[in-house]
Symmetry: C2
Subunit: 544 residues, 2 copies
């Protein structure tokens, strides 16, 4: 007789809770969950733990390499903060305190013995989205039926990070199917937003987003095929990068549709600083991942400037602003963030601003959502129904209620691929001498639960395979970000998005923006954002 | 009533002949076709024409840029030699004398007026395989049913070459379906080998191979998805490169299965020198083709050395030799060429030779030939049968007699793609510190007509997406290259190949070798080959 899905879910939760309970010193139960979880750690953790967990990962690797901070101390601080984050926002599938502390101890001993770090991430605790295979552990991709799948080896990225000296100490939640811009599963329910529990943390790397937003991690591994790194990074007020495809290793993900290459999933960082983004990228690319994974392009991470500066350090930059994709109009706080940044950029010498005219973003969605599930979604349906677990609302939305999901023939796939390529070529021509595009990450701040239905602001760049960087800007202020009255929605999607915006419901939610570059301009994107941050000061609000 | 296919074929031939007849001064008919066509031009063309057409393309662009040679003179010389090649080896679909001479005149005038060339290929005549779209002209991919398809714009590569100053003067033959390692179609029959008309020129870029072999072109555009650049280059004693995918533009090819990306076709050069290979690659990549065609990787053509040398110019190189792929044993002249080169390389300081153990090359063929036609070959069948033309024997061989051709479902394609990736990863691990692999281009010299059934020595590198460079080495000498007696074939393919080798039949055929690199090591490959050429002197025989 098959095991009821509820039994498996309960087992998963019990396992998670057992791992959390191993943390020392133990943490109090939070009986009255606050709307805004972000201040809670300050009341519970030690000053040293707060200092460690709120440090920039670049500073942490520096302290760890010099031995001024031990990996055991760093790891334990992150273990405790992560455990606390779990109690507050429900972002963890399992904590790995024993293995992590043992590893941290090994690294501390190594440093003492050899007088030098083992690699560029020596001693740094790193968080990992569940479906990234970790040897000997379940990898279920959010499907109850897959709970007994156990990884027989590490994903490629984990081996590189381990060789670089990382400590793996926590695995994070993901939604059923991995194809939501939220994080809700029948294993663990919903992962909620650190700043407002009525809102989603985003997804599908929403466990990472919430954990990093809570500073229970400073550097985590996410994956993105339609916005899954960027939506949680943006919703939780942290940094995230969806790199260009074929730069970072993706071998060793547990997911449906493996072998599909029309729309390539990518791995990328969710982290607390731009330095964290760079550290993640450079560590992986310097490890020459193309030897084990030959689909990757063997080109180095470029450290030389991608935008030349004059003698005074002034860069000549043309930044295009996409205010609105022409399909779904962003909520007022998003537009305010764009306006404020644009105003400040106008005062920066060397920067030229232009408007980016959206080009067929609705058609782009038709293409990408036709290519996502060219088997008609049958793998997802099988994986869901295998255990008898119910369909989560957003699984229904993207799979069964999505008019673009069809069982395609081989020629159909080729035709959509050609349309994709034509669209990419047309879009490429729009750039002219524009360096980067600044735009929303979604049609609003973190959505209410089960309402994240519009992917266009992120999936657009997956279709085009452009790198896209998320940076936190400000927070929703209901007094300023009032709803637009008498707005006439353009279409059903626009109406849906417009109608659920009531400023009070989104109070305190992070507002982030997205910087987009041409294919393989990953380095340039980070460099430009560093320059913008330095020039105008970002974010405008504190998130810890 | 549909037009009989024979009528269309006749029309195509008449058109071709009409364009050939425009050449001035006109050429004599060759009534008694010789076995070896290669010496014929010396008896018919002027000394100036011979000097021009037998020049290295690098020297030609230099003379053209300085004005010491006019483009009109160069173009007319190549027009005449190409016309003659057509009469001898049947390699042309149409000559473009009027347009080419008008263009050459324009370029000569431009140089006079501006005192500088228009681009890096100023005035250089370039030949083009038929299925590369040329605006306003038929592009039929070898299918009679497609003869009325007319290109509405140039293929991307032609626009780049035109902007660089090239003169397009001739279009060359290809086989029915483009999926033969020979060049036989119902339009024009067989393109034959310049050195022995009983042998094939190779294919599918066999028109290019034969034309360049005859020196009716010094630089031509071929395409390769299983050996289609390398087989003709090798069979005709010239140079060819199958570059890594996504480096050169491929937008604008007329072919079946467009949109298929599991095995990516590439464009590459067929040319009379290594300098020609480099000129082709650098010109295209310097033009930043990734703007119009965003699937290409935006990485420059590297001009800095890829293999460091010591102060005395000695390079430390590890070269692995693949003597035999373990599936089909190469004919004696191939093994002799490898042995001779290996012997000489042993004497070169800094070079280490090792043997390359073949790894599942038979399985590699299963994977690639399963992925070639995942629609079960239905597009090819439709295209052939649309006109009523008969199936050519090698179309039958690769499509209907091939046990790996099946109508696959979406999941099947994904599974084969995963197998492809696993195989690529396994093969990548074999390299260690090997720099390049030296190996046969096929299981013998140019095959007898309709017998080129073994693709493994070239398709292996398509599956792995490795760059592969063809260099001419020597010619078959029936007195030396005697057949092996009492050989016991390993399998049916091996038996087939073994049994048709009778040295006398292959007399005078070019023997070439293939140098293979890791993915994206295109520059390194050329650099290593230049170094080998300089070190041991290649080819060992003259081909003109």
């Amino acid at each position: 007789m098959p095991v009821p899905w509820e039994t498996i879910a309960q087992k998963a939760q019990e396992h998670r809770d057992a791992t959390i309970s191993l943390v020392e010193p133990g943490l109090p139960e939070i009986t009255d969950l606050p709307l805004d979880s972000s201040p809670v750690p300050k009341a519970i953790l030690t000053p040293e733990e707060l200092a460690i967990t709120e440090s920039d990962p670049v500073d942490l690797v520096s302290s760890l390499a010099s031995g001024t901070l031990s990996s055991v101390n760093a790891t334990n601080a992150f273990l405790r903060r992560a455990a606390l984050a779990q109690k507050l926002v429900n972002c963890i599938t399992e904590l790995l305190p024993n293995a992590a502390l043992e590893r941290a101890k090994y690294l501390d001993d190594y440093l003492k013995k050899h007088g030098k770090p083992i690699g560029p991430l020596h001693g740094l605790p790193i968080s990992v989205k569940e479906h990234v295979k970790m040897k000997g552990r379940t990898v279920n991709a959010g499907f109850i039926a897959w709970y007994d799948r156990v990884a027989d080896r590490n994903a490629h990225i984990l081996d590189i990070f381990l060789a670089a000296g990382a400590v793996l100490y926590v695995r994070t939640t993901q939604p059923q199917t991995l194809m939501h811009l939220e994080t809700s599963s029948n294993f663990y329910g919903q992962t909620v937003n650190p700043f407002n529990r009525n809102l989603t943390s985003g997804g599908s790397s929403g466990g990472e987003g919430a954990l990093v937003g809570m500073r229970g991690s400073c550097l985590g591994i996410g994956t993105d095929i339609g916005g899954s790194i960027r939506s949680p990074a943006a919703n939780c007020g942290v940094y995230g990068l969806r790199p260009t495809s074929y730069r970072l290793p993706i071998e060793g993900l547990s997911a449906t549709m493996l072998g599909q290459e029309q729309i390539v999933p990518v791995i990328g960082p969710i982290t607390t600083s731009l330095g964290g983004v760079k550290l993640f990228m450079k560590t992986l690319i310097d490890a020459k991942p193309w030897i084990r994974e030959p689909s990757l392009v063997p080109f180095p991470w470029r450290t030389e400037p991608q935008v030349p500066a004059n003698g005074g350090g002034i860069k000549k930059l043309k930044i295009a602003i996409l205010w609105d994709d022409g399909v779904v109009k962003p909520h007022p706080p998003i537009t305010r963030a764009l306006k404020t940044v644009a105003e400040k950029l106008k005062g920066v010498e060397g920067i030229t601003l232009v408007n980016w005219e959206p080009y067929k973003h609705d058609y782009a969605w038709t293409i990408i959502s036709s290519l996502y599930f060219c088997d008609g979604g049958s793998e997802e349906a099988t994986a869901i129904e295998g255990s008898g677990e119910p369909w989560r609302p957003l699984s229904r939305f993207i799979l069964t209620d999505n008019p673009n999901v069809k069982k395609l023939g081989i020629r159909d796939v080729w035709d959509w691929t050609l349309k994709r390529d034509d669209f990419r070529a047309e879009y490429s021509q729009l750039w002219g001498d524009v360096d980067v595009i600044l735009c929303p990450v979604g049609p609003g701040p973190a959505p209410l639960h089960d309402t994240a239905r519009y992917w266009g602001y992120t999936s657009q760049w997956n279709l085009l395979d452009y790198p896209a960087l998320i940076v936190p800007i400000t927070k929703v202020d209901p007094e300023v970000d009032v709803a637009e009255k008498n707005y006439k929605p353009r279409n059903e999607k626009d109406r849906y998005n417009y109608e659920f915006y009531e400023p009070e419901k989104f109070a305190n939610a992070p507002v982030s923006l997205q910087l987009v570059g041409r294919r393989y301009d990953d380095e340039k994107l980070i460099e430009v954002m560093e320059y913008i941050q330095k020039s105008i000061g970002l974010p405008f609000t504190n998130f810890v």
